[in-house]
Symmetry: C2
Subunit: 471 residues, 2 copies
């Protein structure tokens, strides 16, 4: 092969390489284009990428909106649409855009882990140009929620747009250009504690986009676990009328845990005194309900963990609070560990599809678990567990028990916690269930009329932006 | 210039280009290297990048640990270090690593917005190779918390490592290779609801790393704002002994808002009945304290917003709850809007440095604001405000009022909320303050002994992982 062929061949090869570069940039610029429309993080109304999510359906279930009367349905829908719009903005869904790194660009840039504090000047790490053979090297950077600048500019360094949204840097020396790039800073100008900007970095026809995370640092919130079970765990009970059962429960607790703190949330009509060391009895207005009581009790906990028990449970010889703590301490990411009540673990999964913006999502409760918890025989990941569980106080508080739900409610807590709470259930963490001998008055409340569950469905249709729920 | 010169020149140019490529990859691989140590998301103990944070200091303050007695200090420190370690794991700090996109690689890949559900097979978007002139094109992909596969493999397509952590794809046709790359899926194998994996994508000596977000979808939690102020806002009060003032407050509320719900958390020793329509009076065990009461009240709210008032405030002609709502509805990202109490806005900022792992952070309270709220004259972003504010129920619940803090406490809520709550304060949202004529008993509690504030400092030293606090 002659020299001239070799020349031709090399040049051709290089040409084709460039061709590919431009194609990629075209594709990429397209992907990226609509991003520059993003408005201020505060008033942004950019619709979320989920707007085009497919419809979802839970077979053989009545749509949730069946529980809203026809004459108020339209108004109800409007209010829900507006609350959902606000929710998407709060969740930063307008930043959920796919970004690609194009091939064959001479630009180096940060793609992850670059965080800035709001309004604070911060160096942008890793910016560089890696090419050759230009008389003049010229790059530009552009951002939207802040301004750019180069620190400590010396004479002879060419920078345009200091403290503006678009910065242009040029030099006849690649080395000097990269030195300047290593001193580029970003300062957000719109105050926000959790949002994102995008940096557009370009050279000739090459363009790349990188994320800039704008975040105010949080202060850790830790619980001092102290040295024994009493400083680690509080026992929580919701009481209503059944004082006989409640006192059996308390006696059984004291038999094994004489000093552990017990918090009782009581919404009985004529509250009886519940006495004993380290028992905190809270009197609620009558019949505030089940989840209001749970939320009250959790709000008063000062220990790292709490143990939820119903008022008609009973501690057995094998009931060991320490076993829950051991698992949670070994796996700090766990938020809820469920036990078993007289052999029943009631573990379930929640299949959830977001659905589209207008109709809302679909949720189906399915009995079963996701996967075993590595290293703990008999423990399985699930989305929900039985009424006997240990919770990480701060994590459960963040989800909370919706006080709107007065009577039958349990799964609803785990629906609200989906994606927030890491839940497992373990075999052999046993507590007993007292024999039922509840009164008529109690049953009136325990087994509410149809109207109640219709109210509940209506509530979920709005609150969880659902189209249907299947239990 | 002769042809032979041109050949030489082009080849040289190309050579130098490659030289740059390899340098970058070297740098990049170095940045990236320690990442492959990441253990299972569940049991990961990889220290956080903040371990090397510089020491911080708040001048002229006594270190928080001064409030822990010498003989228990070591034990106290050990417990705090362990809780902090768990906290870093829970916050996913082990994923806080800076990733760079190297220049001049022929690989295209996603750098942002690629989310997968745990254990669910998901296409990896945007993978491509853009080069030329190879007899055989061969790329490989590697992940750590999941497995890879190519969908619908046909005869004649060369894929090794289906459903394994490392996948290798080869073809003599670039077009076929890219077709195969467009069908690559990722399936996480360790169940986790919020964690991250990294994909290592390589071709010849080119290596890039891209983030894979593993996240369980959350269900929205919305509040139905209804149609009037009574369905949007609940008024919250913490009562203790001062029933005279409390009743003045309630009468003043009823004068302007006859039907709005009022929730009262009362930890008086001998609680008096507080009666009236739509007043919910909660009786706590005696002297549970200020923040326990606040947390109880917030836990019972069923409206989208609540208005916090002290028991000795009084509604004036100019007291308009609607003004708070208007601002929060216009700016959905706001969590707290502060007003003014007899002309006092008490707005402050919190300067916080994380400090290092052993010593902890430094926090200083500084009077003043961050920046104006665009579009709202007289409103300014701050980190904390006066005792008269409207809160977004779900957001404030997520932070909560630490029930450990019994007496003097206010700033502590905003410290816990730093980075979570977007706070503004606005001029002219006025409420009145009743004249003080509090009893001796009240003052005993209101102005606690020195020992109390020492307990408090000790608490913060542990809880917020602090080295010093400066008010």
């Amino acid at each position: 092969m002659s020299r001239c062929h070799r020349t031709f061949h090399t040049v051709l090869m290089f040409g084709i390489l460039l061709l590919f570069v431009f194609t990629t940039i075209a594709v990429f610029t397209y992907n990226d284009s609509d991003f520059w429309k993003t408005a201020s993080p505060i008033l942004s109304t950019k619709p979320s990428p989920y707007d085009n999510s497919p419809l979802c359906n839970c077979q053989n279930t009545e749509p949730a909106n069946k529980y809203v009367s026809v004459d108020e349905l339209e108004d109800f829908r409007k209010r829900r649409a507006e609350e959902y719009r606000q929710h998407q903005i709060r969740m930063g869904k307008q930043n959920d855009v796919l970004l690609l790194a194009p091939a064959n660009t001479p630009l180096q840039y940060p793609i992850k882990g670059f965080r800035v504090s709001p309004l604070k000047k911060t160096l942008i790490p890793g910016l560089a140009l890696q090419t050759q053979n230009r008389k003049l090297y010229k790059v530009s950077l552009r951002v939207h929620k802040g301004v750019l600048s180069v620190m400590d500019i010396q004479g002879g360094e060419h920078v345009d747009g200091q403290n503006e949204q678009t910065l242009t840097i040029s030099s006849s020396s690649l080395h000097q250009l990269n030195d300047l790039l290593s001193r580029v800073t970003y300062t957000s100008t719109v105050y926000h504690i959790k949002t994102e900007d995008l940096g557009l970095f370009s050279f000739e026809n090459y363009k790349v986009t990188f994320p800039i995370e704008i975040r105010r640092l949080s202060v850790p919130v830790l619980f001092d676990p102290g040295k024994d079970i009493n400083s680690q765990v509080t026992i929580l009970v919701k009481a209503f009328l059944r004082y006989k059962e409640l006192n059996v429960l308390i006696r059984s607790i004291r038999q094994f845990y004489p000093n552990i703190k017990i918090i009782i949330a009581d919404d009985s009509h004529d509250p009886e005194k519940v006495v004993g060391d380290n028992i905190q009895h809270y009197i609620m207005p009558p019949a505030q309900g089940w989840f209001a009581g749970r939320n009250l009790a959790v709000s008063q906990v000062t220990t790292k963990y709490f143990l939820w028990v119903d008022d008609d449970f009973v501690f057995l010889n094998e009931t060991r609070i320490e076993s829950f703590v051991k698992i949670m301490e070994a796996v700090p990411e766990l938020d809820v560990v469920g036990g078993d009540v007289g052999g029943n673990q009631f573990l379930f999964k929640l299949d959830y599809e977001e659905g589209n913006r207008e109709e809302g999502g679909c949720i189906t409760r399915v009995m079963g678990s996701h996967a075993p918890l590595p290293g703990f025989d008999g423990c399985y990941f699930a989305d929900g567990v039985v009424n006997y569980f240990m919770g990480r106080t701060d994590a459960v508080r963040r989800v909370g028990f919706d006080p709107f739900l007065k009577r039958v409610a349990h799964t609803e807590f785990f629906i609200d916690g989906l994606g927030d709470l890491l839940v497992v259930t373990c075999k052999g963490l046993r507590i007993g269930h007292q024999e039922r001998h509840s009164t008529n008055i109690y049953n009136q409340y325990r087994y509410p009329p149809q109207s109640d569950s219709q109210q509940k469905m209506r509530h979920h249709y709005f609150k969880n932006h659902l189209k249907c729920i299947k239990y």
